[in-house]
């Protein structure tokens, strides 16, 4: 770790609970580097998470941090942002946390375009509860609750976020770290609901169940499956299957929720 990044970590809480080879540390590191690059005020950042291996990240990060209930981080974050719009509010969430139990909150936080940055640690599995399938687990993959192969269909979280109203939408991976840092920086700078889905790895459960032997092999798989947004534009749906499309999908300047509410206060107080 670079010396100047140490102040962003709660060093006395390390080592972390994550397994060797887990991708969650890479994403946590990318968030920290993005914050450092932007020179954001540490005291004015509030990082909120749900429940899962990924949601333990805020505990290691030296900011105002809140570890909530499973799936509900965005709801808590909405209250925080409304109460104090000066805070930079960041939600760190797993794919189960965000897309299953928290799916509804994602839709509505995006719809409101409230100024919160959401980063999904998307390892396509429930890590913390030891390897059950999530809504992001590909069809045919194995999980402890899909011993015969998963028949649920997964979906594209970025498309969901965008169609619900998110005004910055991007995807990165734990393999392409410099790009990931840039995407998170863009998300943090964006005013409105920004969403970064990060293709992540869980060697302990997804890897073992699906016979990807090592974390390195999982990383290589991510590298090989990744294609840019530009390349993807030229491909058919069939050609796209099994690919991870990375880069920026959407960016729009739109009215932000807490700013709109500030106008309501003005009106209610007689336009002072």
């Amino acid at each position: 770790m670079r010396k100047e990044l140490e102040r962003y970590f709660r060093k006395d809480k390390l080592p972390h609970i994550w397994c060797p080879g887990c991708g969650h540390g890479i994403i946590t590191g990318a968030v920290i580097r993005a914050i450092d690059n932007l020179k954001l005020d540490q005291n004015k950042i509030c990082i909120v998470s749900g429940i899962g291996c990924s949601s333990r990240a805020p505990g290691y990060m030296n900011f105002n941090t809140l570890h909530t209930t499973h799936g509900r981080a965005l709801a808590f974050a909405t209250g925080i942002k409304m109460a104090n719009p000066e805070l930079k509010v960041i939600v760190l969430t797993g794919d189960g946390d965000c897309a299953a139990i928290g799916g509804n909150h994602l839709i509505h936080a995006a719809r409101r375009n409230i100024d919160i940055t959401t980063i999904v640690f998307n390892n396509s599995i429930y890590g913390m509860t030891s390897g059950q399938y999530s809504p992001m687990t590909p069809k045919g993959a194995f999980a402890t609750t899909a011993p015969y192969g998963n028949i649920d269909r997964n979906f594209d979280l970025c498309k969901l976020a965008q169609s619900a109203g998110a005004t910055y939408v991007a995807r990165g991976t734990v393999y392409h770290v410099p790009q990931l840092i840039k995407l998170i920086e863009k998300a943090l700078k964006h005013k409105g609901f920004s969403f970064v889905d990060v293709a992540d790895i869980c060697p302990t459960y997804f890897g073992r169940k699906n016979k990807v032997p090592t974390p390195v092999a999982m990383m290589e798989k991510i590298r090989d499956m990744s294609i840019t947004v530009k390349t993807a534009e030229k491909l058919s749906a069939e050609e796209l299957s099994g690919k991870i499309v990375i880069g920026e999908f959407y960016e729009e300047n739109a009215l932000e929720f807490t700013e709109e509410y500030a106008k309501i206060i003005k009106t209610a107080q007689g336009g002072k």
């Binding site: 909530t68 709801a75 909405t78 409304m82 109460a83 107080q269």
Partner: protein, 382 residues
């Protein structure tokens, strides 16, 4: 602002009381018979610089309320039966993380969607034990519109003082009833705010009992001292621990901060209990019928009285105990449910009194006549 006399609905008095108490954030999801509380909060909060949001469901509402409170605002949500069930997990989060917040539950007939527009008092036990695990909670229940105003303020004050969620357990009757009320002058309203850490505290520990009263001072996110909050069992620094001693100490402190202050928290009212042979224990809107019945029965010479619990949880054992010093032999517990509070009253009376239930759970009120009939029946049996 001077005294204000007006005709007001219970739900309206709740919002007036909340704003007077300092509520500056409301998150909710519409549900009968609590909806007016959301509507009026939406209208009134921005006028005082406060904030209202209609969330996507009750789970989210409860989460947003806790978030806003952690960011320094006094926050409230209101709901009814089904929504109250949905809030429970996050209410438990607020209990463990000691985040002040007020939850209004306007009780309606249940279970499930039940009787959405009709009154009940069926959430007595859910208010106490709705969320999982051992936890402290304060539950208070008003019987009149003016009392809704006062008790909403009290709910905020207790919640802020003890850093515990406070549930205002209303029922459909009190919520929708209109009464002429005189609201107190704002100057005369006692307002309690959460204890803040002294600015000088070097390396603030969010769950350290600095003052020895079991209530840690509470900073807000953004105050300048970053801190961590988790729903896992935590030590005084706020970080997770599975140490049995840390766990036990935390749970003991959470309980003791309430149970060491029962005299400050608990309120009840007695009517004609001094010489009463039979006392009717009740709360909420049912107390209105009981009061009427006691008056009529007294005219007939019955030695009957009323114990009205304003605080339901922690249970006012002291009030039951006081009756042992009187001539009271029989207790009748009148409640609009199949019999919930009666079990605790029985345990509290511990064989000293004969305890009878007067229960109604068909969406109709317990009438004064029904109370009178029950008292007569008990008198004959006794």
């Amino acid at each position: 602002m001077g005294k204000r006399v007006m005709l007001m609905q219970g739900n309206e008095a709740c919002v007036e009381g909340a704003i007077a108490a300092g509520m500056r954030f409301y998150a909710g999801y519409p549900i009968t018979p609590s909806t007016e509380i959301a509507e009026l909060s939406a209208e009134k909060l921005p006028k005082v610089g406060g904030k209202f949001i209609q969330m996507e469901d009750e789970i989210a509402s409860m989460g947003a309320v806790i978030g806003a409170s952690l960011a320094g605002l006094k926050a409230m949500t209101a709901t009814s039966g089904p929504g109250f069930s949905l809030k429970q997990e996050n209410i438990g989060f607020a209990c463990l993380t000691e985040v002040p917040c007020v939850i209004v539950n306007v009780q309606r007939g249940g279970p499930s969607t039940g009787l959405p527009t009709l009154p009940a008092q069926g959430d007595v036990m859910q208010a106490r034990w709705g969320t999982h695990g051992d936890h402290p909670i304060i539950v208070i229940s008003p019987s009149s519109v003016r009392e809704v105003f006062d008790m909403t303020i009290k709910a905020f004050n207790l919640s802020e003082k003890y850093r515990v969620p406070c549930i205002l357990l209303m029922d459909e009757v009190v919520a929708h009833m209109r009464e002429k009320v005189e609201l107190p002058e704002e100057l005369n309203i006692e307002i309690i705010n959460r204890k803040k850490p002294k600015a000088s505290l070097p390396d603030y520990k969010p769950y350290k009992d600095y003052d020895g009263d079991g209530i840690p001072p509470m900073a807000a996110f953004g105050d300048g001292t970053p801190f961590h909050v988790t729903g896992l069992i935590h030590d005084e620094t706020g970080f997770p621990s599975t140490d049995p001693k840390v766990t036990e100490n935390l749970l003991n402190r959470l309980m003791n901060k309430i149970y060491n202050n029962l005299d400050d928290i608990i309120e009840y009212e007695t009517v004609d209990t001094a010489d009463a042979n039979t006392v009717i224990v009740t709360f909420g809107s049912t107390a209105r019928s009981v009061l009427r019945a006691v008056k009529l029965l007294r005219q007939e010479g019955f030695k009957v009285g009323m114990l009205r619990l304003k605080t339901i949880w922690p249970f006012p054992h002291k009030a039951i105990n006081e009756l042992t010093q009187t001539a009271t032999k029989n207790l009748i517990v009148a409640e609009m449910n199949y019999g919930q509070l009666i079990e605790t009253v029985k345990a509290s009376a511990d064989g000293v009194f004969k305890v009878y239930g007067l229960n109604k759970y068909n969406g109709e009120l317990i009438t004064p006549q029904e109370v009178i009939d029950k008292v007569r029946e008990v008198a004959v049996n006794a």
